[in-house]
């Protein structure tokens, strides 16, 4: 089915690049951006001079300590070009290709460099997590001295309670993704672990243990997105971005049921409408649901309509989400395995779908033939969903 929208240009991804993800990298944000961008351009067969527009994204400025971070990290890749930085917290990494899509689809730009960079390690003392102290409502929440992991633990427990899911079922996601990451050349937290390892790791905020969570990371990723005319000129294997979706729920996360991500359902519906997808369970061949925590992969699979509500743990337990399963999820290794340099982690998921659809994922290539894939991210105070649907 053709999308029901008047798009001036179809949009394709023709190249991608990704740095190593590590707890600390020596490179500056500018250098990381420069390296990832050159790598993406290299694969696309283009040069900086060929690029019309740059769309970039990064998480809170406070990580770098430079409160105009967008202009700072793009200095080597966007000088003299129209540039926009987008930001929706953890949702940023997938929002960057979403925003790049409308730059090309509208006819405004033909060749766009799409960049996401994150250097969390600079905020080194007392801990990078301390930066998140400043995302809460300053009047009614911050006086309780919350850590970011508190809210995720609250969402996780609500989800467990509402859906009757156990911690050991959820831990299977961490086991799967960390194992998948063993085949990813950028991976920071790849490992062969067991459910017991997860359950016995340091308790941070019950029900969240250390191995339920992705690590703090530095890294950058980039893609090149172009119009149909340029895609056909540059490659025999363009991957089309056919659907984009994004949606915002209330910042007042204490005023809504955390058991089901309504904002993600809405974002997915928007992307599916554009892509002409009527039954995501049948039509999505491979997915990268956002997994900063293991329960989030399950929660997001349900929000994306990849399985019925409360069924994701069952589907995972049956092995359907493994690389050789019917619905491979996070074949990259996800944030849990590859690492979580926030915005760069989101674009890493979009890049994985690009590589999977091109058949270029190497040892990570899923077993089934894949035509349609999806990448998703989530952010701010558990209120934003961002989705891209791609086809080969």
């Amino acid at each position: 089915m053709r999308p029901n929208i008047n798009v001036k240009n179809r949009v394709a991804v023709v190249g991608a690049g990704l740095t190593l993800f590590r707890r600390r990298l020596m490179e500056t944000p500018q250098e990381l951006s420069w390296i990832a961008a050159r790598q993406a351009l290299d694969q696309a067969g283009l040069d900086f001079n060929d690029i019309d527009c740059v769309v970039s994204g990064s998480a809170p400025d406070a990580f770098d300590g430079v409160h105009m971070k967008g202009e700072y990290y793009v200095e080597g890749v966007a000088n003299g070009k129209p540039h926009v930085r987008v930001f929706v917290g953890g949702g940023t990494g997938v929002f960057v290709p979403v925003a790049a899509w409308w730059h090309v689809a509208s006819g405004l730009c033909r060749k766009v460099l799409v960049l996401a960079e994150e250097k969390m390690s600079s905020a080194s003392r007392p801990h990078p997590q301390a930066v998140f102290k400043h995302i809460w409502d300053p009047l009614v929440e911050k006086p309780l001295n919350p850590n970011l992991i508190w809210i995720f633990a609250m969402e996780m427990h609500r989800y467990m309670y509402r859906c009757g899911v156990r911690k050991e079922d959820i831990a299977l996601v961490s086991v799967k993704n960390k194992r998948n990451a063993l085949d990813h050349p950028s991976a920071q937290a790849a490992a062969k672990i067991t459910v017991d390892d997860v359950l016995n790791s340091e308790m941070l905020v019950y029900p969240v243990n250390r191995l339920d969570v992705s690590p703090v990371s530095d890294g950058a990723g980039a893609m090149v997105m172009v119009s149909e005319e340029w895609a056909n000129r540059l490659t025999d294997n363009p991957i089309w971005v056919e659907g984009v979706g994004f949606n915002l729920d209330s910042t007042n996360w204490t005023n809504r049921d955390l058991g089901y991500p309504v904002y993600l359902k809405r974002a997915a519906e928007m992307a599916y409408r554009l892509a002409g997808i009527e039954n995501p369970m049948k039509e999505i061949d491979v997915a990268e649901p956002y997994d900063p925590f293991d329960y989030k992969e399950l929660h997001h699979m349900e929000g994306l309509g990849l399985c019925p509500p409360c069924k994701a743990a069952e589907v995972t337990k049956e092995g359907l989400t493994q690389r050789d399963g019917d619905l491979p999820t996070s074949p990259s290794g996800g944030l849990l395995g590859v690492g979580n340099p926030i915005a760069a982690a989101g674009i890493m998921k979009a890049i994985e779908i690009f590589w999977q659809l091109r058949g270029e994922a190497g040892a990570r290539q899923v077993k089934k033939d894949v035509v349609t894939g999806l990448a998703q991210a989530w952010g701010d105070l558990m209120q934003v969903g961002t989705v891209v649907v791609m086809r080969r």
């Binding site: 990298l25 390296i35 009047l139 992991i149 019950y206 005023n255 809504r256």
Partner: protein
């Protein structure tokens, strides 16, 4: 692809590599706004106040001067019972800067009575005075709780010490 290599740093090499350190010292003093001014005045008197939407009927706690679902101004103030149900609860071993707490605390979201539907409701994040075991067994979920008020109140969310269990299911 050696061309695109980046350089991981260990803890030791990072310490040796640091060239500059900065510590921003901004202190933020927050004006409370229209809705929270009344909300904090209410807390000082030992009351939880909310604003009611004339269209959808939702009582907003924490209160707002607008309904973000109907995009309407809210002018009707209502007192909400200082009781509710535990929507979710967790045991926290770490606080804001990832410092480990000497004694773990229970915090959660309290769904206050008065309005709402399956998805939306008036609610607050707060401490819950109960044992970690009640969270780990999920026994605390859905249980009725009531605010324990501080004796000296100054118009802050901390005027409520915690929510205490009224009756176990």
């Amino acid at each position: 692809m050696t061309d695109f290599k980046v350089t991981p740093l260990s803890e030791d090499s990072f310490r040796n590599a640091i060239r500059e350190s900065t510590s921003p010292r901004a202190v933020y003093d927050m004006a409370p706004g229209e809705a929270y001014t009344k909300f904090f005045e209410g807390l000082r008197e030992g009351k939880i106040l909310g604003t009611k939407c004339p269209s959808c009927g939702l009582v907003h706690v924490p209160p707002k001067v607008y309904c973000q679902y109907c995009y309407l101004p809210l002018t009707q103030w209502v007192e909400v019972k200082d009781e509710g149900f535990v929507e979710t609860a967790v045991v926290v071993y770490i606080a804001a800067e990832r410092e480990r707490l000497e004694k773990p605390e229970v915090v959660g979201v309290i769904r206050l009575e008065g309005s709402g539907d399956r998805y939306r409701y008036p609610g607050l994040m707060h401490r819950i005075c109960t044992e970690p075991e009640e969270v780990k067994s999920s026994r605390i979920m859905g249980v009725k709780v009531k605010a324990r008020w501080a004796t000296e109140r100054k118009g802050s969310i901390n005027d409520i010490e915690c929510f205490e269990v009224v009756s176990w299911k």
